[in-house]
Amino acid sequence: MLMHPIQQMIEIKVNFFSYFKDLTGCEATRIDLEEGATLEQAMEMVREKFPKLESMKRSTLVAVGLEYVATDHVLSEGEEISLFPPVQGG
């Protein structure tokens, strides 16, 4: 039963790293977004699903695929988002 037959939905995988896995209790999740949704909208949805991420908002790094992208990036089917705390290599 399609309520909005014109509105296509896309499914996006979201990965968590480091202690974001502890905060969310999972390594990855999937969210459904309307086509044309931005990374910012996806992140809002993720934070609603995992409220503990809210407090980390200012120190969250976000990648789409292997790249850091602007939050107005429009997501496409098949893209993956990764959320993680500040990196600490070395």
Partner: protein, 132 residues
């Protein structure tokens, strides 16, 4: 610019890496940096650090950093190894080699790429506190 990036769970054999170095005859300087796990983190004693990486992205981000190094300085080659998994105190977690015609650019590029790594390359530390 020649480049080599490796993420590995094995100890880094720095002596072997140094012995296997090749340089063109125009190169006058090689700078190495070894990052070693220290026994203290956040004011507490540790046994080891477990390094976690988003590996595919880490390699990609190192490549982007190396692209920028190549734009900034006349570097002939960079070889970099970052250890992941369990790294005991006093062992190397990071090894970098930068070769260039003159010393200033090798030092600058080596320091710069480490600073950039610490901003962008998705690797995280999990200190293993003694007694935990």
């Amino acid at each position: 610019m020649k480049r080599s990036i490796e993420l590995t769970k094995d100890p880094i054999d720095e002596g072997l890496m140094v012995s296997s170095r090749t340089l063109s005859h125009q190169m006058g300087a090689v700078v190495y940096f070894s990052g070693i796990v220290r026994e203290g983190e956040q004011g507490r004693k540790i046994d080891a650090i477990v390094y976690e990486a988003f590996e595919e992205m880490a390699v990609h981000q190192f490549k982007l950093i190396f692209d920028e190094v190549e734009q900034k300085w006349p570097i002939e080659s960079i070889r970099l190894i970052h250890r992941i998994g369990h790294v005991p105190v006093n062992e190397s977690s990071l090894w970098v080699e930068v070769t260039s015609p003159h010393r200033q650019e090798a030092f600058q590029a080596c320091e710069w790429l480490i600073v950039e790594m610490k901003k962008r390359v998705p690797i995280w530390k999990h200190p293993q506190f003694v007694g935990d």
